[in-house]
Amino acid sequence: MKLLYFAWVRERVGKPEEEIDPPPNVRTIGELMAWLSRRGEEYAYAFENAKVIRAAIDHAHVKPDTAIAGAREIAFFPPMTGG
């Protein structure tokens, strides 16, 4: 699946997007953040305060307990500050 990062999540991870293939025991958005944060210092830094990070699956806002099965594109970003 494709991951996208925005704003300071993107800056901390160090890239705007990547393709990943998480193991089958990573089932939810929350589990995916935990798995990502074990991939290296930049990820640990980006996801150190996972509670503030928002996620979207295929362009729709989702919660940490949402299942990622079937997702084509998952995005992580800080609270929105548009308008």
Partner: protein, 159 residues
């Protein structure tokens, strides 16, 4: 219904004309323009860069426009949100809502602005004297957006 994300500025008069020209059923046109300020909670801002999530931003805004149309009797709605680098005084966002009466036009414009502030995937990075930082979400914006979820068609006293 028009939802546009663009780097360029917009012309409010032209956007109103686009929705109203040749019609005689519209009695009310409410608009809101958000403008980049030189000061954010005491910090001097030299510029800001608006990042967005292409694809999702359009979809999210369009969903909210459709929700506004389901809630109020509207004739037309236009939402324009800029991205890229903006300096103080620059326009950032425009909402135009038309209806036969003012209640619906005002409510729809406020509703859309509250949602754009809290749910549309945009992020502001400010440039302050030498430094740069991402703007943090305002709690007042979350409270403003939340009131549309609780009350019926109109928000209660949210402040």
């Amino acid at each position: 219904m028009a939802v546009r994300l663009q780097r360029e500025d917009f012309d409010i008069g032209a956007e109103i004309a686009e929705l109203t020209q040749g019609r005689t059923d519209i009695g009310a046109v409410a608009t809101f323009t958000g403008v980049c300020r030189a000061d954010n909670e005491g910090h001097r801002i030299e510029a800001m860069t608006l990042e967005h999530y292409p694809g999702m931003a359009e979809a999210e805004i369009l969903r909210h426009v459709e929700e506004a149309q389901a809630r109020w009797p509207l004739f037309g709605v236009t939402v324009i949100h800029r991205y890229g680098r903006l300096v103080p005084g620059d326009n950032v966002v425009l909402v135009v809502a038309t209806s036969s009466h003012r209640e619906a036009a005002f409510a729809a414009a406020e509703f859309l602005m509250d949602y754009l502030k809290t749910r549309a995937p945009f992020w502001k990075k400010e440039e302050r004297a030498g430094a740069a930082g991402w703007v943090e979400a305002r709690q007042a914006d979350d409270a403003a957006a939340q009131r549309w979820r609780q009350a019926g068609r109109r928000p209660g006293a949210a402040e």
